[in-house]
Structures are given as C-alpha cells and as structure tokens.
Symmetry: none
Subunit: 419 residues, 2 copies
C-alpha cells in the first residue's frame, strides 16, 4: 500500500508522480500494490490513512512519501507517532549530522525549524538521505507476519534514492518470499507505433507459452515488458524472446534502464566518433539529454542553438539567400545546419533540427508539427527527413528530440554493422 501526503494532491495542484513511481518500483520488485491512498497535510488524517494502510498491507509493506520536511505543514512524523502511540524523540546523532550539514554550507547554527528533522517516532530506524536533509524512517509494524512501514521524503530524487537503496535492501532481507517473482524482461523500442508493434508481436509470439506482454507507450517510444511465472518460466520467456527477436531488432535500443541518448553515445564511442548538434525548435533539448549522461564529454562536443535566423547564418554558415528562398523550416536549411555544426564544432557526425513547434507559426505548407532533420558526417552523405508530429508544443519538441537522437543512433549502428 502506498500513501502519498500533501494538500497539493487533494486540491488538484499537482499530479501524483511519486505514487506512480513507487507503484512501478514495488511492482517491479514483485509486490502487488493493492491500494494507493492520498491524504492532505493533516496529522489526524495521515494517522488514519496509516491505520487503514497497515491493515490492508498486513504481511507486506506500507510506503509513504511526503510530509517529512522542516516546515510546520510537514506532519508525517507526528502522525506516525500518533498512529503508533509512541513518543517523538529527538535523535542526538541525527541532530549532530544535521548541524554539520548546515555548517558545511556556511550556516553556523541549525535553524530552529530544521531541528524538527531530528525527531524520530520511537522505534524508527533512520535511513540516511545523502541528497537532502530529511532522512527516511523504517518501522516494524508487526513481527509475524512481518509488516513494514517506510516513511520517505517527497522530493522525487531523494525518495527514489532511498527506495532503491535501504528500502529494497530491507524488503529483500525481511520479506524474501513474495509472490512468485516473475521472470521479466523489459525491452525499450523507438520509431514504431504501439499498434504496429503489437500487430507484429502478436503474429510472431507462439501460442501456449503463457508469457504476459505489457505495452508502455510514451512520447519517447514503446517499452515492452515480457513476463512469465510458474514452472519453467525462464525457458518459456527465453523462447518467446527468441521468437520475437526479428521483430524487435530494428527498433530496440536497450533494456529496462536504457536511454536512447546513452545508447547513441555508446554507439558513437565504439566507432571513435565525436558528435555535434544544431538545434532550432528543440532549443537545447537534444543537448540537454545527451549531457545528462555522465561521461558524455569524450563524444559530445556541443551544440549551436540557432533560434534566430542571424545565428543560423553567423554560427552555422547557413546562407542568407537560402533562408530567404526556402524559409527556416526547409530541407535546404536543415542540411546546411548539419554541415555547419560538423564544421563549427569539429565533430565526426552531427544532427540538425528545425521545425514549427507551435502553437503559432504554422502555415498551409508547413503546419504546426512539421519538423526537418538532417544527419551529416560519419563517412556517409548528408541525409534529410521530414516528419509531422501530433500534440502540443512540448510533445512536438520531445518527439523531435527523440527522432534526432534516433537518426544518429541508426547511422552509428549501421556503420558498426558494415564494419
């Protein structure tokens, strides 16, 4: 059972992305999530939700997120003490480490509000939080059957790090016999629509294997989860994957943790290639994804975001006459941008993007969603593609970013295959 805490959820001010993240994390760790409860920043209501959740989760686990910060509307600690009918003690070690943390940032004294972070409902085990000042807490609610409660902070990066670290470690130790842990393989694909992929997969999956297949489509592509449980699950899963291999091969860039930007950088790195980008409507999103990968600097050289035409001319050498004749969103301009980026940044391969992300700026010839792409370098001729994307400004830009990365990835993979 997952409990998320925050008035902003009940007032509809924020989407509950933490609930979804925890649901997937617990699901992937072979738990069946039976309920998600969201409550406001109210001590009595949080305590009541903990009571309800712990009854539903008997023999399992309750994970809460939110309400552990320093301000007075953070009430999860107090609510837990109330629910468990225990005292709220100040932990001297935790207090010392909080004070040290603040000193290292140039605050000689711990602010009085932050002192609240050292309060622990009696019986709680402290889960240190390397990314923030509020630690997580763990409680054994019932010894037999083991029923656990974890309190996690609401800041996503802190919650995720604690979940992947001490929470999963404790769950694996204390609740080792869960549902038959399904054998599951996740495959990430890009460049093919969910319905087209589904049609091909259903055709090639042999009957009688009892392998479950889930589709998780997004703007970035379709994630597939093949899973099987019971006798011979692993070999049935292997046979299913073998059967669909020819269908998946052209679209698959990796497994559960893969990102297309990391796959692209890896493919370039293996060839000794360096990469440059030239962005217009994506405005830096391609570079932002590539530089999100640690250690990208041996491959990625940089980008020219040429939002204004002047920048396309001066930094990428796109001729003014070409811009005037064909317009900024055109095959000629995107090819010139890709060549210009290659030269300006001294890279082996480059990709360029220019398009109409909307909501304004569309025309009959070039409606909103029209995007031109070009790749240059890597010992192959410049190649251009035109796409028409659905959705709003954000979605068009995200689809364009994925498309641009895919063009580089495909060129590098093709070059590796050809030797």
């Amino acid at each position: 059972v997952i409990v998320t805490v925050g008035d902003e959820l009940l007032q509809g001010d924020r989407l509950d992305t933490n609930a979804r993240w925890l649901a997937r994390g617990l699901h992937d760790a072979s738990f069946r999530v039976v309920e998600i409860l969201s409550v406001g920043d109210d001590e009595a209501e949080i305590a009541r939700a903990l009571d309800e959740a712990s009854r539903l989760a008997a023999g399992g686990v309750v994970v809460t997120t939110g309400g552990l910060g320093p301000t007075l509307d953070d009430r999860t600690r107090e609510a837990t003490a109330r629910f468990l009918s225990v005292e709220l003690d100040e932990d001297p070690e935790l207090l010392a480490s909080l004070a040290a943390r603040f000193r290292s940032r140039g605050h000689p004294d711990l602010p009085p509000l932050n002192r609240r972070l050292a309060k622990v409902p009696r019986g709680g085990r402290i889960l240190p939080n390397a990314r923030g000042s509020a630690p997580g807490l763990e409680f054994m609610l019932v010894e037999d059957p083991v029923t656990l409660l974890f309190l996690l902070p609401g800041v996503p990066s802190e919650m995720e790090a604690l979940f992947h670290g001490p929470v999963l470690e404790s769950l694996d130790r204390r609740l080792p016999r869960r549902l038959d842990r399904p054998f599951a393989v996740v495959v990430r694909t890009t460049g093919i629509a969910e319905s087209a992929l589904a049609a091909e997969l259903e055709r090639s999956l042999p009957g009688g294997l009892d392998v479950n297949l889930q589709y998780r489509p997004s703007v970035e592509g379709v994630e597939l989860r093949f899973s099987a449980t019971g006798v011979g699950a692993d070999s049935r899963l292997d046979r299913a994957l073998e059967a669909v291999e020819p269908v998946l091969a052209p679209w698959r860039y990796g497994g559960a943790e893969a990102t297309l930007e990391a796959a692209t950088l890896d493919a370039c790195r293996r060839l000794g290639w360096t990469l440059a980008t030239a962005e217009s409507c994506t405005g830096g999103m391609i570079g932002s994804r590539l530089t999100g990968v640690p250690g990208c600097s041996d491959v990625y050289q940089g980008s020219v975001t040429a939002y204004a035409n002047r920048a396309k001319e001066t930094l990428l050498g796109v001729p003014e006459s070409l811009l005037a004749a064909e317009g900024a969103v055109s095959e000629g301009v995107v090819r010139a941008m890709a060549r210009g980026a290659l030269e300006a940044l001294g890279a082996t391969i480059s990709v360029a993007v220019t398009g109409v992300a909307g909501p304004g700026g569309g025309s009959e010839d070039r409606p909103v969603g029209t995007v031109w792409f070009a790749v240059a370098g890597g010992g192959m001729p410049v190649e251009a593609e035109r796409a028409s994307f659905p959705g709003d400004r954000d979605e068009i830009r995200r689809r364009a970013t994925q498309h641009a990365l895919r063009m580089v990835w495909k060129r590098a993979v093709a070059r590796s295959r050809d030797g």
Copy 2:
C-alpha cells in the same frame, strides 16, 4: 473522496490524471477533498474502497472514475451492487438506447459484451453520456446527512463532461451549503531556501489573521499558498499579503501559473532586450526552458553549448591560454563565455554557465556541484557568481539552470526599476 479504478494505476503504468482533474474540480466547487483512493480492477477491492470512501465522505460525496466499460475487467457496476447489497438490473430503456447507438454506427446487433453497459445497481439514477456508451450513475447513499455517490467513466473527456453537467448540477441542488469557498493566493519564489523563507514569513505574519500558509518546495524554488476561509476571509488574506510584501518582493517572480523562464522573457521584452546563452554543464537546459515558452523568439536568439573546450575557443572566443591557466570551470572562463555569447549571437544580454555536474570530474578546489555563472550586457558591467549545489547530476544541472535564469531576470528587473 475520490476513488480511481484501474490495474494500470497500481502497476505504475499510468499517471492518475483523472484523480488530479476531479480533485481540482471538487476543490473549485468548494469541496474539501479528504482522500483519494486508487484500487485495481477487482470487484471485492472496489467494493471495500467504496465502503471506506463512503464512511469518510459522510455528509458529502464520493466520486469514482473507471471500471464502467464493456470488457470483463470493468467491475465498478458489480462492485457497487455488492457494496450496496442490491441487485444488478438490466435497464430496458438504457438497453434500447445502446442498441440504437450501435445501429446508427452500422452495427445491427448490440455486441454481447456491450449489453453489460445496460446493467444498473438497483436505486441508481442514470446520467446520460453524450460522448460514449457507458453512462454515469448516481446513488443516494444516506438521506440525512445527504451523502451521494457518483460513478463516472474513466475516459477523461466523458468523465469531464459528466462532472461539469449532471454531477455539479446535482451537487448544487442536494448539497448547497458547502464549506465557505476559500480565498487563496499562490506566490512563486526563487533564490531563497524554504526554511529561510519560512523563518522570515512567520516573523512578519501578524497573529490572529487565521491565514493558512502552505510551502511547496522544489529544485526550481518555493511555491507559497496563502488561504483563508470564513467571515472576512478576503480582507484577512489581503492584510497578510500586505504584511509579508517586503519579505516576498526580492524573491517573487509570479503567481500560480508563472514560470521563471516566462518571467525572464517578459522582463527582457519590456526593455526591448534580446537574450543569448552560453551553456556548458547545463548542456542546453537553459535554452530548452526558454524555448518552451511560445513566442520566445522576439527575445531569445539562441545559445552556444560549448561542452568541449574547442567549442569554447572557436565559437565563444575564449582564449586557449585562459582555459589552460584557469581551467574550464573558472571565473575568467565564464566571464569570457558570457561576453562571447553576447557577440556571437548579437544579443543585448547574455548569461553563461560552466560547472562540475558530476559524478566524476570534481577536485579539491572545484568539488562536484561547483558552478560559475556570468551575466553580460544590459548596460551593466559583467558580473560573475560562484555557487555550490547539492544533489546528483540532474539536480545540480536543474539548480544551475534556475540560477542562470534568475541572474538574467534580476538584471532585467533591476534595470526596469532604475528606469
């Protein structure tokens, strides 16, 4: 109380956007949402959730969404019949209108599965659904105090139309005396920590106003929500906002829907300024945020993402000798980058960023999290700042992006004030 139904929610396959939409809708209709419950497509679990929800919502309303479709995993009708201990009757009028709907689409016979859509738990009032085949249903759970239950389909457009139509109409008729609608004002701030802001606000808020203050911190800043209910709520809220005005003024960039990138672009636009960026560790994130704002092109010219040193030299004119002497993450280099961006992109004002985002690349002098910033142009001397950010690579980059936008915003706001 809101109940959302669907296995995909519990497995983390889908964000619960319906819950958020209903929460906002009920909040805006002056209801206090006390809990959101999400359960899977299981009859017993839905029935249990309805039981729990109806107890919590005594004297109010329960709204469910999902599980009303024709397929066999749609169980909300059956679960409601079980929870109410009533029969599930086939409604002849509903059946006739379903058959007519299918005939008008070229299906002479109603498919057997779709016949399920005509089942109604005894006592339910049918809420016709103009956009789909599954109607909504309304039940009076308790007569005194009036407690209502609405079942709505999970397709967002159908749910929304039914909520705005027959649901709100019935609520206004049957539950007219709701909580006093709260007066609320949202303020977004950046550049000050939650605890520091809280300490200053608690000091300056006069006692006795009975104004509630919520803090919503994120990497981008702290969002504040001031609210008051009851007699004289609006004037008490005004007095509170007046009292905290001097505290908020330096940090506030807007209200509920504001983003710092839009505020920055607006501030530049009012001065007739154009803006350029030079990014290194942020790799395009600043440009990506700015270009996310429709109509940014009159202000934003573009960016040079100079990830490699070579790009810093050739595109931004940073002297090789300076890079060798001071290193890429240094005051000298960031100042040269800002000046170079100003010139290369022909803008009025520029901001440059270079830092160590980690996890590798840190040193004793420049540990991970060290980031240098500079703003140039706008008729003021070049100004540099050094920051040390906590968190992982992603968080450091997001904090650096926010800091860079803030520097431009502050310079533009300062220039506007000085005339």
